[in-house]
């Protein structure tokens, strides 16, 4: 495409330059400072801290619970975003507004409230625990807290993209004979998939770092329900700032790799979709399946 050789649109240099400068000052410089601080310890010692039995267990719990929470939100978030954009129902505006609340509520309040709800005598716990399923003070509690905390991400990244899908394309697909399901799978889903991945990645990233809400519902038992941020706090309680930064840096590295792979995947799917399949072609393809 011509755009690669000479750019028609203005503002690339300015926009990218500003982005890089601001990013460097606010994010990269401080994070660099963090890494520099941790490097005072030396690689071997950092690995010792990161590979201790408790650290490993905490990493497993943290990343596992975060993945589950992000997956739950990807699935339900897609449905929620869809019904919020496409279906009329009473009280929709109110429901729409509620979606942002997990961000506004201080995390500690969220944790305390969820623990109260899911405890053995709570509104939900009294029904769930007799079934032999404990949520509060188990790793499941962590999943619940993280699901709550990261709920807005998927919904809010999908909403504008779904709003943006032009119904003409869907109509075109239909007029060419595609069923609704085919239209969804071949036309709509590819269009919203990059945003879905973005939402998933953001929810996952946020969940990994979350501390305030989790400690109130997790139970915090060593090797069972301790999350990595709790171990970082524990180091700070010992005035071991170096150890804390070491753990933080390892966590940062892991998150960075995971995020990078999701973003590469997203870029790849978005590009494939954009270059090879304009929506009209996709519509035709979808109908092709029906013929």
């Amino acid at each position: 495409m011509a755009a690669k050789t000479h750019r028609v649109l203005p503002g690339f240099g300015l926009a990218l330059g500003y982005t890089l400068v601001y990013l460097s000052l606010l994010i990269l410089l401080p994070l660099g400072g963090l890494i520099l601080k941790a490097s005072e310890l030396g690689f071997g010692q950092i690995m010792d801290i990161a590979l201790g039995e408790r650290s490993l267990a905490a990493f497993r719990v943290t990343f596992g619970a975060s993945f589950l929470a992000a997956a739950v939100n990807a699935f339900f978030g897609l449905i929620v975003a869809w019904i919020l954009v496409r279906y009329p129902f009473p009280g929709k505006r109110f429901v729409d507004a509620l979606v942002d609340l997990p961000f506004a509520l201080p995390t500690a309040v969220a944790g305390i409230t969820l623990a109260t709800l899911y405890a053995g005598n709570g509104w939900l716990g009294q029904f769930i625990e007799p079934l032999g399923f404990k949520v509060a003070y188990t790793p499941w509690g962590i999943v619940v807290a993280l699901t709550f905390i990261t709920l807005p991400f998927v919904v809010r990244t999908l909403q504008p993209v779904i709003e943006d899908i032009e119904t003409e394309v869907e109509e075109a697909a239909a007029s060419l004979g595609a069923s609704r399901w085919q239209t969804f799978v071949k036309v709509i889903f590819p269009a919203i998939f990059p945003a879905l991945l973005t939402g998933f990645a953001l929810a996952f990233a946020r969940a990994v770092g979350e501390y305030g809400s989790v400690i109130f519902i997790a139970g915090n038992l060593p090797l069972i329900s301790e999350i990595t941020p709790l171990l970082i706090i524990s180091k700070l309680e010992q005035y071991d700032v170096l150890g804390a930064t070491a753990l933080a840096v390892v966590m940062l590295g892991l998150s960075f790799l995971l995020l990078l792979s999701v973003n590469l995947l997203q870029w790849w799917t978005a590009n494939r979709h954009k270059n090879s399949e304009p929506l009209e072609v996709a519509a035709a393809k979808a109908s092709g399946g029906a013929q």
């Binding site: 305390i112 623990a115 109260t116 405890a119 139970g219 915090n220 060593p222 524990s234 010992q238 005035y239």
Partner: protein
């Protein structure tokens, strides 16, 4: 727009608030449940100081987790005085050169104007018959405590149980650690903090006993009513200290040494001691203690210095990474 302007001006107000009207401003950095103590104490001191020196003084409070507060002071929070609930926190400031090395000698009673003790809170009627530490370690009993490694409250509980186990016939460090292992098995969770432990016990009705400061029992009564629980005093428990110190570096920089010194000294006055007693903290003044005897049943206590050779040492042996607490979990 009105809202915008108002909040911007509020922001600016907050920024310049330090240049307030009073002659002198002191900042007291304190632990998180100390508010009730200083809410009443501060106006008392203001009145006293005005009468004594004619100076009007503004007192600002900062509250938070004890070690978090101390870290902030070490990182540049300009607190004139620190009033904490763990000696090792002030020890840390002394190591950093912000507080005098011999800070425990600068004020009477190892610089701790009042004390408390770790006690058990049990359900009404004490259905499990919990009397002492070994009852907490019995099978089938559940205890609610804050995280023994990360919270002051939890650490005090841990050390109390350890000291009790040492004093049993044939007790040594090994049996004490075994005892702690049994005790901690009875904890279905480690609460995020003292307050969270209380909520878990009182509101969510989990566990048979909650272990906390004697002074907290009254706060629990205030929030949840007196009828639901009983206080049990074990045969031996830890006398918890509330050490105070001047932050030398800050008072020298701000020129507030005189006022800050007076502020802390006044804690030992009759008024200061009485205020502590009214907040269910055991006063050092024998007369006031006698006056409030109904609040404070006689109790056999130990200090960390006696049993563990100092707060710093106790912390290093038991709560640092790889310490006795970690060994209970990881060496299985």
């Amino acid at each position: 727009m009105f809202q915008l302007r108002k909040s911007i001006s509020a922001l600016m107000l907050a920024m310049v608030a330090s240049a307030a009207l009073a002659d002198v401003t002191l900042l007291n950095s304190s632990y998180d449940v100390a508010r009730d103590v200083y809410k009443d104490y501060n106006p008392m001191f203001q009145k006293y100081w005005k009468a004594k020196s004619g100076e009007s003084i503004e007192l600002k409070q900062s509250h938070g987790g004890s070690s978090k507060q101390v870290r902030a002071v070490a990182d540049g929070l300009e607190a004139d005085v620190v009033t904490m609930n763990q000696a090792n926190d002030i020890e840390f400031l002394a190591e950093k050169g912000l507080v005098a090395k011999d800070w425990t000698k600068k004020f009477p009673n190892s610089a701790s104007p009042y004390t408390s003790a770790m006690v058990f809170i049990v359900r009404k009627g004490n259905p499990k018959g919990i009397k002492d530490w070994n009852d907490l370690a019995a099978t089938g009993t559940q205890i609610i405590i804050p995280h023994p490694k990360n919270t002051g409250n939890g650490r005090n509980t841990y050390l109390s149980a350890w000291a009790w186990a040492l004093k049993q016939p044939g007790g040594n460090d090994k049996t004490a650690q075994e005892f702690l292992g049994k005790l901690l098995k009875n904890a279905p969770l480690f609460a995020a903090g003292g307050r969270d432990a209380t909520t878990t016990f009182m509101q969510r009705k989990m566990g048979d006993a909650l272990i906390t400061f004697e002074s907290e029992a009254e706060m629990i009564a205030k929030e949840f009513g007196k009828g639901d629980f009983e206080v049990v005093y074990p045969s031996l428990t830890m006398q918890t200290e509330f050490p105070v110190a001047l932050v030398e570096k800050v008072v020298d920089k701000k020129g507030t040494r005189k006022q800050a010194q007076a502020y802390l000294e006044y804690l030992w006055s009759k008024e200061g001691q009485e205020n502590a007693a009214q907040n269910y903290l055991r006063p050092r003044d024998a007369e006031i203690l006698k006056k409030y005897a109904s609040f404070f049943p006689p109790l056999k206590t130990f200090t960390v210095d006696e049993v563990f050779g100092g707060a710093n040492k106790a912390f290093a042996i038991h709560f640092k990474d790889g310490g006795s607490f970690d060994q209970i979990y990881v060496q299985k």
